[in-house]
Amino acid sequence: MSQIMSQTLLQIRDLSIVYPGARANVAALCDLSLEVAAGECLGLVGESGSGKTALLLAILGLLPRSAQVRGSICYRGRELLGLEARQFNDIRGTRIAMVFQDSMSALNPYMRVIDQLSEVPRVHGGLSRRAAEQRALDMIEAVHIGEPRRRARQYPHELSGGMRQRVMIAMALIGEPDVVLADEPTTALDVTVQAQILSLLQEMRGRTGAALVLVTHDLGVVAQLADRVGVMRAGQLLEQARCAQLFSHPQHPYTQALLRAVPRMDAYP
């Protein structure tokens, strides 16, 4: 494990998000505070409706216009809430990147893989088209996609789910971000493919030193990757602890119940 610098990259204070609704407002997040340090992996665990996706969208400025947001999100000391779209474009995709759950809808079905991948280095990095494409190819190889040159020229629907997810990870990392947000990146995948993707995420973290905020409902996933774990329910952060600590000595009753509910498999190896 590489030297973890204690520099705080992301500081979230008292974040509240309310979605206006037809009959009543929905509070997606309530006074949530947390920090993400450089190079660390923070796992956020919660069931559906816990607000974990809203949190990620808020960090990237992707919430719907109608959402009412209060509190503060600071990236390297710079306030992100209320930033102009143009200013956000410098950060989104380059400094803070996201891996989505559903690769089929997150990737443009009309663009070849290599074109989508080379967009970020061309637009943000100012690289020439050739250089950007080379960079894209390098990334495709780095995420272990077999036959990289052939796959690069294909469209998303021609790739398997696992390969598409690798492309998403490549897209997230190509701008060399400090922070990668991953929203249930393996939930839609088969178990054997999931294991590969998790292993890939681990490898990429080691190589690039990027921090990873991993949002999932699967405790097994955080057990494998996370340095620290936060447990969310109904928009609140109930407990935060180092990974080993949370699993061995959970403090909050909800965490304890969650751990009890996960079926343990008593098996090989």
Binding site: S199, Q224, A267
Partner: protein
């Protein structure tokens, strides 16, 4: 027609199911299941596990006669299931039921729960009075952990877990001999999964149910099933008793599957070996010989030429040329 006492409740032999699919502008045959054979004895639960393309949902639908079968035999309660038509087929349905993956979608959105649950009784117990049917429905509701007040409600008023309970109640209400569960936990949240698994376990004990439990969720399979069948790309890889499968899996795919499942224990999770490489091949062009060979760390030349037959290794049946050596 009572079957002979020693005949297994369900016998499947060399089942083959294919679909017509369009691929690159041509119509091709997609083989969803090939040469699948297994038995299920009364009072037992057989788990069927596999990932995408394994054919497990196709198996469920073929057994329930919702999908056409290309070749093979299915014997249920001693009768040839595939030969049944019309009224005989309908009568068979009283003995063979199904629980669906998405609880809410499996319920008619325009019908009240009371009617949905009473419908099988109206069809199979036409001589019963309304009062008798109502009593039976209420008893079943209670058994699955719901209340009488739920009778009047519509499906959209229920949560996923509750809807699944209703589905279980509907499957049980005519006291079938066998229930096929098609991934009943997949669309549920973690804590609800645990509740429904508990419910199924309790019902298994109380009613001595025979279940065919199809899932990709191995931990739940370990809790509920006596024996497990592992499918990959429509072919059987391994069939074994629970203890044998989970402790001493023989087939390389079974081992890879077990190793890939996330464990909620940081120490064990990080001590695991590297997962197998490669993606699941497309069902449209499966590999020759053993379909798993493209991802198998132990593949040899023979695996490319010859499809391995299921053979007995200890307590398990394994379809691997090198089972026993590795």
């Amino acid at each position: 027609m009572k079957p002979a006492p020693q005949t297994p409740l369900l016998q499947v032999r060399e089942l083959r199911v294919s679909y017509a699919a369009r691929y690159r502008g041509r119509t091709v045959r997609l083989r969803a299941l090939d040469n699948v054979s297994f038995d299920l004895a009364g009072g037992h639960t057989l788990g069927v596990v596999g990932e995408s393309g394994s054919g497990k949902s196709t198996l469920a639908r073929a057994l329930l006669r919702l999908t056409a079968v290309e070749a093979g035999r299915i014997h249920f309660r001693g009768n040839d299931l595939l030969a049944l038509r019309g009224t005989a087929l309908q009568r068979m349905r009283a003995h063979l039921q199904m629980i669906f993956q998405d609880g809410i979608s499996a319920l008619d959105p325009r019908q009240r729960i009371g009617n949905i649950l009473a419908e099988p009784l109206q069809i199979f117990r036409p001589q019963w009075s309304d009062a008798q049917r109502l009593a039976s429905v209420l008893a079943m509701l209670e058994r699955v952990g719901l209340e009488a007040q739920h009778l009047q409600r519509f499906p959209h008023q229920f949560s996923g877990g509750q809807a699944q309970r209703i589905g279980i109640a509907r499957a049980l209400i005519v006291a079938p001999d066998l229930i096929v569960c098609d991934e009943p936990l997949s669309s549920l949240d973690v804590s609800i999964k645990a509740q429904i698994t508990d419910l199924l376990q309790r019902l298994q004990r109380e009613l001595r149910l025979s279940l065919l439990f199809i899932a990709h969720d191995l931990p739940a399979v370990q809790l509920l099933c006596d024996r497990v069948l592992v499918l990959y790309l429509g072919r059987v890889m391994e069939i074994a008793a629970r203890a044998a499968l989970f402790q001493t899996p023989q087939h390389p795919y079974t081992r890879a599957l077990l190793q890939a499942i996330p464990i909620p224990d940081p120490q064990r999770a990080r001590a695991r070996p590297v997962p197998i490489i490669g993606d699941i091949p497309s069902s449209l062009s499966p590999p020759s010989g053993c379909v798993f060979r493209t991802r198998c760390p132990h593949a040899i030349e023979r695996c490319t030429r010859e499809i391995p037959a299921l053979r007995r290794i200890g307590d398990s049946e394994v379809a691997c040329h090198r089972a026993g050596e590795i």
